[in-house]
C-alpha cells in the first residue's frame, strides 16, 4: 500500500499542500470579504441611479457602469499584471497571499456589483412603491425593503463571486500569488509532477463544491417564496 502511494504520489508533499490550501482559503476569504464590502454599495448605487429608479442619475450611472465594465472586460490574467504597481503602492508587495488580494478584489468587486444590481432589479417595483407610500425615505427603502427582499439573490451572488474568486486565486499563482494555483503551476506544470496537479485540481473542485452547497443552503434558508 505504501509502495503504491509512493509510486502514485511520490512528489506530493502533504504539508506543502496543506499550506497551499490554507493560502487559497485566505486569499478567497479576504478577497471575497472586500469584494462584498466594495461591490455591495456599488451595486446598490448602480441600481438606484439606473433608469426609472429612485435616484435616477444618467451621468452617475454611465460613469459607474463604465468603470465596472472596464474592470470586468479585462481578462483576469491581464488585470493581475496591470495591478502590480498599484498593489505594491497599496501593501508594499505584489507577491504572496497579500499581494494577490488587491487584484482579486479588483476583479471580484465589479463582478459582484453587477450581480447585486441584477438581484435588486428583481425586487417587485410594487414593494418599493408600497414602502414609499408608507412614508419611507430612500435610506429606509434600501435597508428596510430592497436589501432584505433581494437577500436570497445577493447570497446567490456571493456564492458565484466566491467560486469565481477560487479560480482567479488559482490564476494568481502566475504572478507568484501563492496557494493551490501556485503549487499547480510550479510543481504540476513546470516540473511535470502530474500527481501534484491532480491533487490540487481535486482540492479546488472540492472547495468549489462546498461553496456552492453552502451558498444554495443559505439561499434556501432566506427564501420565503
Amino acid at each position: 500500500m505504501e509502495a503504491l502511494m509512493e509510486t502514485l504520489m511520490g512528489n506530493v508533499d502533504w504539508a506543502e499542500i496543506g499550506w497551499a490550501s490554507w493560502d487559497t482559503l485566505v486569499m478567497v476569504g479576504m478577497s471575497l470579504l472586500f469584494s462584498v464590502l466594495i461591490g455591495l454599495p456599488i451595486g446598490v448605487l448602480l441600481f438606484l441611479t439606473g433608469k426609472r429608479q429612485l435616484l435616477e442619475q444618467p451621468v452617475a450611472y454611465a460613469v459607474l457602469s463604465f468603470i465596472v465594465n472596464v474592470l470586468r472586460s479585462v481578462p483576469f490574467i491581464i488585470l493581475l499584471i496591470v495591478m502590480i504597481p498599484f498593489t505594491v503602492m497599496l501593501i508594499g508587495t505584489s507577491l504572496g497571499v497579500a499581494g494577490a488580494i488587491p487584484p482579486l478584489v479588483a476583479g471580484g468587486a465589479p463582478f459582484f456589483a453587477r450581480l447585486v444590481e441584477t438581484s435588486l432589479r428583481e425586487v417587485d417595483r410594487g414593494i418599493i412603491e408600497a414602502t414609499q407610500a408608507m412614508g419611507a425615505n430612500v435610506r429606509q427603502i434600501i435597508f428596510g425593503a430592497l436589501l432584505p427582499e433581494a437577500l436570497p439573490g445577493i447570497i446567490a451572488g456571493i456564492t458565484v463571486t466566491a467560486i469565481t474568486l477560487v479560480s482567479y486565486a488559482a490564476m494568481s499563482g502566475v504572478i507568484g500569488g501563492g496557494g493551490l494555483g501556485d503549487l499547480a503551476i510550479r510543481f504540476g506544470y513546470q516540473r511535470f509532477q502530474t500527481d501534484v496537479m491532480v491533487i490540487t485540481v481535486a482540492l479546488l473542485v472540492i472547495f468549489v463544491q462546498v461553496l456552492q452547497m453552502a451558498g444554495d443552503r443559505l439561499v434556501l434558508h432566506f427564501s420565503r417564496k
Partner: protein, 335 residues
C-alpha cells in the same frame, strides 16, 4: 376632505407631454367611500397616486384638509404619507418579513412608536382582520384574501385618515372579494375612514361606494351618488360598465325589445318602494297587461333597488304612468 382643483398630470415621452389626466376638479368628502371606475389606461391609477403623491401632479392644487399637498417638502410629504394608507392589487407585501413584521413595518419606519406600542397595535390589527393565528407566517404561506387582509392591516397601522385602494380586489376570487369589501365597508363605518377606491368592476362600486367618478381617457366623464350613476347612467362609458356588471348583452336586449309589443317602460324602484306590491295594483287600476322583459333586484350599498323593463299592452296607459310616478317609481319610456 380631498379637493382636486384643476389638477392635471402629463408624462414627458420623447420630449412631448402626453396627458394622463386632463384638468380635473372634484371633492371627496371626509368619511365617504369614493369609487373611481374606468378601463385600464383611463387614468384612474394615476389619479389615486396623485393623492399620496406617488405620482407628482403637473398642474393644479390638491387640498387635503385644507392643506395643499403639492407644495409639501420631502420631509412633510413623508409625514403626510403616514396618514394615508394604501393597499394594492398585488398586495405588495414584503416576502422577507412575517405577517406581524409586515404590519409593524410602517410603524417602524415612522420611528415614533415604542416597541410595546408596535406590538400591541399589531396584535390589535391582526385580531381586527382575523389573522391572529397567522402572525408568524410568511406572505407566501397565505391565500390571496389573507394577503390582502394583511395589506389592509399594514395600511391601517399608523392610524391613517384616508385609505387608498388600488384595484384591491381585482386579483381575488368573487367570494374573497366579497369578504374584503365587507371589511373595507366595516372599517369605513367604524373608523370614519375616507376610502378612495379604484376598480374596473362596477359591482365593487355598487357594493361599497357612496359616490363614484367614471373615468375615460384621462377625464372624469360622470360623477355622482352611486345609485344615481348606476341606475341612470348618462355617459356611454358608464353605460358599458353598468351593462357589464349586470351581465346584460346590450344588443341581445335591443333585439328582445324589438319583438315585444306595445309600450316599453323601464321602471326604477329605490328603497322602500322596491318591496311594495305595486305592479299588480297598477295593472288592476289601469287595465293594462304587462310582461317583464328584463329585470334585476339587488342592493346598492345598503339601499335595495329594482329595475324592470316592461312592455305594456291595452288599458289606460296614462293612468298607469301616473300611478307609478305617484309611488315614487322612476319611469323611463324606452319606446
Amino acid at each position: 376632505m380631498i379637493v382636486f382643483d384643476q389638477v392635471e398630470k402629463s408624462y414627458q415621452v420623447a420630449g412631448r407631454a402626453i396627458p394622463a389626466l386632463h384638468p380635473t376638479s372634484m371633492t371627496i368628502e371626509t368619511g365617504e367611500v369614493f369609487g373611481i371606475v374606468g378601463h385600464s389606461g383611463a387614468g384612474k391609477s394615476t389619479l389615486v397616486r396623485l393623492i399620496n403623491r406617488l405620482e407628482p401632479s403637473t398642474g393644479g392644487r390638491i387640498l387635503i384638509d385644507d392643506e395643499d399637498i403639492t407644495r409639501y417638502s420631502a420631509a412633510e410629504l413623508r409625514a403626510f404619507r403616514r396618514k394615508v394608507g394604501m393597499i394594492f392589487q398585488h398586495f405588495n407585501l414584503l416576502a422577507s418579513k412575517t405577517v406581524a413584521d409586515n404590519i409593524a413595518f410602517p410603524m417602524k419606519l415612522a420611528g415614533i412608536y415604542s416597541k410595546a406600542d408596535i406590538r400591541s397595535r399589531v396584535d390589535e390589527l391582526l385580531a381586527r382582520v382575523s389573522l391572529s393565528d397567522h402572525a408568524s407566517k410568511y406572505p407566501s404561506q397565505l391565500s390571496g384574501g389573507q394577503k390582502q387582509r394583511v395589506g389592509i392591516a399594514r395600511a391601517l397601522a399608523c392610524r391613517p385618515t384616508i385609505l387608498l385602494c388600488d384595484e384591491a380586489t381585482s386579483a381575488l376570487d368573487p367570494q374573497t372579494t366579497q369578504s374584503v369589501l365587507k371589511l373595507l365597508a366595516d372599517l369605513n363605518r367604524e373608523l370614519g375612514l375616507t376610502i378612495v377606491l379604484i376598480t374596473h368592476e362596477m359591482d365593487v362600486v355598487r357594493r361599497v361606494c357612496d359616490r363614484v367618478a367614471v373615468m375615460d381617457a384621462g377625464r372624469v366623464v360622470e360623477m355622482g351618488p352611486v345609485s344615481e350613476v348606476f341606475l341612470h347612467p348618462q355617459h356611454p362609458t358608464t353605460r358599458d360598465f353598468v351593462f357589464e356588471s349586470e351581465n346584460v348583452d346590450h344588443d341581445e336586449l335591443q333585439e328582445d325589445l324589438q319583438k315585444a309589443e306595445g309600450r316599453i317602460l323601464r321602471l326604477t324602484f329605490k328603497g322602500e318602494s322596491t318591496y311594495r306590491p305595486l305592479l299588480g295594483s297598477v295593472a288592476r287600476e289601469s287595465g293594462v297587461d304587462f310582461s317583464i322583459l328584463s329585470g334585476r333586484i339587488d342592493h346598492i350599498k345598503d339601499t335595495p333597488y329594482g329595475q324592470l323593463t316592461l312592455s305594456l299592452v291595452g288599458g289606460d296607459l296614462e293612468v298607469a304612468m301616473k300611478a307609478l310616478e305617484a309611488a315614487e317609481v322612476h319611469v323611463e319610456v324606452v319606446r
